[in-house]
């Protein structure tokens, strides 16, 4: 890991110093234990903050929108490439100004699982050793089997980094993801098989928690509209009809989350950021995966389910 971090810093230093990019977008340690945060460097001397390790959870690609038109290098993991491509297509970004730095990732470490296992003890990440993580718990170094602490997203790791441009950079680091046979739709199937009444109760319960902070939308690379249809274009008293009222009641919350699921359906890169950022732990990926599962049966969904059809589509009832 150390070598990787160094290579990353050297790269960032070189790119910034030689003016190949104006901004290098990566990760640095946060202020809380096990927390890594996005980090931005515009000057070579800032690169010392950069790190890369299995705690680098955030998907940085959406930040590219903030720097549209500028030459930016961004650290990505393979699992984030689908969301990058979608963003590129949706917003017609200039690809040649974007330098992807593909970080070698052998699976992310889920801090929640770690905290649950060793609650109350100081935790520190030490290393990624192929099949294991090394973590300091209290005073003691522990070797942990990866598959037990893997971040949910990693169970469906694409492990591919195709369609890169020649200018993109692949960082090297020897690590490996344990091979895992996981049904990506297990959660969806489970819920599908419950009676409708139980499904309703489930969603009532989790949606009731929603505070409409829109973090799921703000972080989502597939939510790339200039103006969201839920953001009213006029001050409150001037409006008479909206897509949705501002009330924090269940009907609105259903409407918001179902609409968002429809809007990202077929376009979602399944980076899972919506679920990560949700402060009240709404299982948003269930909705996304449900639609992904349904869409799989549809022939040809380019460029999204709202703008495509096939004569062989199933009939609604």
């Amino acid at each position: 890991m150390r070598g990787l971090t160094e290579a990353l810093r050297e790269l960032a230093y070189r790119l910034l110093r030689e003016g190949e990019v104006e901004l290098f977008l990566g990760y640095s340690w946060g202020t809380l234990p096990l927390v890594v945060r996005p980090c931005f460097a515009t000057r070579p001397e800032q690169v010392e903050a950069f790190i890369f390790n299995p705690l680098c959870l955030p998907n940085l690609v959406k930040y590219l929108l903030r720097f549209e038109g500028r030459r930016v290098a961004v650290v990505v993991k393979k699992c984030e490439l689908p969301s990058f491509r979608q963003l590129l297509a949706d917003r017609n970004l200039e690809r040649k100004k974007i330098r992807l730095v593909v970080a070698p990732c052998g699976g992310l470490l889920d801090p929640a699982k770690l905290q649950k296992e060793f609650s109350g003890q100081p935790l520190e990440f030490i290393a990624d050793r192929g099949k294991e993580y090394v973590v300091r718990v209290g005073e003691e170094e522990k070797v942990l089997a990866k598959q037990l602490y893997l971040y949910p997203r990693c169970f469906s790791c694409p492990q591919k980094d195709e369609d890169l441009e020649p200018e993109d950079i692949r960082l090297e680091f020897s690590t490996s993801l344990p091979s895992l046979e996981v049904d990506p739709y297990a959660g969806v199937s489970y819920l599908e098989e419950r009676p409708a009444e139980e499904r309703r109760e489930f969603w009532d319960r989790v949606f009731k928690r929603c505070i409409r902070c829109y973090a799921c939308r703000e972080v989502c690379p597939a939510c790339s509209c200039h103006e969201c249809c839920f953001d009213p274009p006029l001050p409150g008293w001037q409006r008479t009809v909206d897509w949705m009222s501002k009330a924090h009641w269940l009907p609105e919350i259903y409407q918001y989350h179902l609409t968002r699921a429809l809007h990202v359906a077929g376009r979602c890169g399944e980076c899972g950021e919506c679920e990560r950022v949700c402060p009240v732990k709404i299982p948003l990926m269930l909705l996304v995966k449900k639609l992904a599962k349904e869409i799989q049966s549809l022939p040809g969904v380019e460029p999204g389910i709202l703008a495509s059809y096939s004569p062989d589509d199933p009939e609604p009832h």
Binding site: V188, L191, E192, A196, E197, E198, R199, R200, E201, F202, W203, D204, K208, R209, C210, I211, C229, W243, M244, H248, W249, L250, P251, E252, Y254, Q255, L258, T259, A261, L262, A265, V280, L287, K290, L291, E294, I295, L298, I305, L306, A307, S308, Y309, S310, P311, D313, P314, E315, P316, H317
Partner: protein, 146 residues
Amino acid sequence: MSVKEWEPKIVAFLCHWCSYAAADLAGVSRFSYPPNVRIIRVPCSSRVNPQFVLRAFAEGADGVLVAGCHLGDCHYVKGNYYARRRLWVLQRLLEFVGMEPARFQVHWISGAEGAKFAETIKEMVDKVRILGPNRLFQEVKDICVG
């Protein structure tokens, strides 16, 4: 509102060229059907944004019907094909969150099918009446949100 007074409220989005004409024909032919349905005219079933359907439910509709031309007969060539896919996906989603399938229906009704229109409404009203008010989108306002 007590259960006795409750009458199903059904919003129907009908395409101008076929299904709205079918509703007209049902009228001309005096095919009666329950007065629980309220019609909104749209040029094509492809004009029906799934968000309109969600909005109708959130505003208190107990059922939503979308009807358009038969596949292949769309006045705008392939609009109903788009509608079919969009609304099929919406149905899957609504069922997933626990809505009864009968509350949101999609039918292809041509301008010559006045009887089919009346029949469709009758059946839908009957089914929704049995289901009762739409609870999914009309949960009581709870003090403990968040």
